[in-house]
Symmetry: C2
Subunit: 459 residues, 2 copies
Amino acid sequence: MKYLIYSLIVIFSCSIYSQDLNIHSQFIKKIYDEALSRGESYERLDYLSNQIGGRLSGSVNYERSVKWGKEELNLIGLDSVWLQPLMIPKWIRGAPEYAHIESSPGNTISVPIVALGGSISTPSIGISANVIEVKSFDELNKIGKDSIDGKIIFFNRKMDPTLINTFQSYSGSVNQRIQGAAKASKLGAIGVIVRSMTTILDDYPHTGSMYYDELTLNERIPAAAISTNGAELLSSMLSLNPNIKFFFRQNSKNLPDVLSYNVIGQIDGSERADEIILVGGHLDSWDLGDGSHDDGAGIVQSMEVLRILKILNYKPKRTIRVVLFANKENGLRGGIKYAELAKKNNESHFFALESDAGGFTPRGFSFDTSESEFNSLKEFEILFKHYGIDNFVNGGSGPDIVPLKDDKIILAGLRPDSQRYFDYHHAASDTFDKINKRELELGAAAMTALVYLIDNYKL
Amino acid sequence: MKYLIYSLIVIFSCSIYSQDLNIHSQFIKKIYDEALSRGESYERLDYLSNQIGGRLSGSVNYERSVKWGKEELNLIGLDSVWLQPLMIPKWIRGAPEYAHIESSPGNTISVPIVALGGSISTPSIGISANVIEVKSFDELNKIGKDSIDGKIIFFNRKMDPTLINTFQSYSGSVNQRIQGAAKASKLGAIGVIVRSMTTILDDYPHTGSMYYDELTLNERIPAAAISTNGAELLSSMLSLNPNIKFFFRQNSKNLPDVLSYNVIGQIDGSERADEIILVGGHLDSWDLGDGSHDDGAGIVQSMEVLRILKILNYKPKRTIRVVLFANKENGLRGGIKYAELAKKNNESHFFALESDAGGFTPRGFSFDTSESEFNSLKEFEILFKHYGIDNFVNGGSGPDIVPLKDDKIILAGLRPDSQRYFDYHHAASDTFDKINKRELELGAAAMTALVYLIDNYKL
């Protein structure tokens, strides 16, 4: 430890932080020791995942998680805890979906599908039609209205496995899920099937949001995700016989918005109480799994930041606030409402950090700030190297805090190892048994350390 | 990519490698693309884990894995594949172990235990005795012979959760397992129970090797691992009542050595065929799980190195050899025999790389070489940064290649993320479902890239 501090002092010798470096390094060690020895994030997530479970916006479970979140923040002993009301969308999945491939009349093979979030129902008897497989919107447009009319469009572009960061692969394919139905409907399709957004081959369909954009109610067509194994089967059967039919039935529905809440708590700042440091994730999840990685992990890590600072008896200079955002998955209403009220109330946010990329081993932080600010923040990187974190990059933060963006706030996101995330993302397999206790705790510790450093930054 | 290469050229402008850097960077991209798009390591491990399973030295399953290994290497189309005979120990677990805590006569709670590898049996009716809990050999010695005589010693020092590298935590506690019985026997103990070497609390006991050192046959006492939940229970019951008894029964046995094999294959070098670059792992495993992480992952990754080089039509300058070592877990006989024969046959090993730390996201490589050589090798690090690997350290390689150490060979080890390894290590939970395909493939790609670079190093 002495050697570490010595090395750091040498490196920081020209830096604005050198005088405090020894203190910072020692305090960060205390943070990690607390997180790894007496951490509470894992136990909290166990409850959220296994006693509450999936918590889709507008569901009873989401309301239960709001109540739980508020109670847990009160237990941590914050200076204040409150609910921020807002209207959120209510989409329901309804009865379980069903789909099959019909290779010849009466000869069917069932395949796993789930309705995409926001999709309308099929007619109650389902729909059956010929299928056209495409890999891109360009290809769709080239095929054209005449051929597409009355058909089901099957979007089957894979996530690129050769990209090392799986979020990049996801970005490269997810427009099929989000916009596929809107694009296909305009060309006369009657339904859309989308390959699940994951690089692995298995039997879990992965849901996720989709939007009809400007389509009128009667132009909307049902959209579902098919498991990757199902997509491979459908594709190979189509290559043998383009005339096979696909049948699917789903019962999903958009209902009127309902009242719900962001859950907020804070430790008041002792010197600059009006400057807010925010840490958070989103409390809602999809309904298929229990949302342990997306984003139960981010929720309990964010709570843990404040718990650790409290238990270490740290008196923050600025106000440290935790926000459990509502409705990220199908609307982002929680983040939007939070930013709207922050502006209205003239709140000043100095920094906001989100954890919404899974509870895996933390590898770094991304920042969304000016180049000069980033270069200044990057000097903190050396303090994290001992803890396996050495990747500070400028670019990106988290979806719920983006609405806060202005020319003053520093936005940031925790960047865990991304290799496993899309195995579980939005699928029934996103469950608590996929969480590793140490990985989750390391993420919480890293976030706490960054929040601590930011609290001592630019005083 | 162009930008990447440009940056690299700038960085390498003073380096011996600058002229080849563009080529190296492009070839490494090909390696990763192959591993991540058309990799075979995951499928191979599926077979080894699920069709063969746990493969303890001397077992029928180990012999099956030898046969499988040889066939697979032949399928890859190497220049030569052969078996290297050696004698290996044969220890058998026998009938399932049983243990309970007796809080008062007839009032028992069963707890999960497994015999440690190499331990003798209890008498067939088991042993029952009072228990003394200790955390260290110092504490044991202080308690002394008079108090220990006739008792069972319970070694209960935890792995330190605050160390970030879990292998360091393991090193800090594993002497209890390896030497505990020998130390306790000398003080009159009749049996030893050791807390499982893992940081998580669960019901899996973790086995592992133990040695009696110079103890004669009749001085030996049986030793078992207890699950961490079991250890916590036993410890808390002892703190309430030091007079409780512990009963355990195991049926393990050491049998005479048997003939078995290291499995070896190679691609002959085109320019310096007499300089060998070795890549490997150990083919044996403990018997409780299927040995997917320890060390099935290392086996299939090592095979994949040669397959990728072959499929990319790479003609190595040096000879690239894969070795699937026998008997690492309870004897290291495979590594020792290999080194002995290498010396006897005047083989010249330029480099050896082992993967024996699990099939998790690769984070770096460790080297065991001179400081100047290491500094030279560290220049390769920049080529891996894009792939999430940025931790080249000097210190340590892999157990099976250590016997090759001399003043010429460069030894190295793959260093994956260590957070999950000891959750499964030597336990029934080390199974194929704990393997993530991409993580495994990234490790194989990193190893291939390093082997490729070393083949082009110091020509």
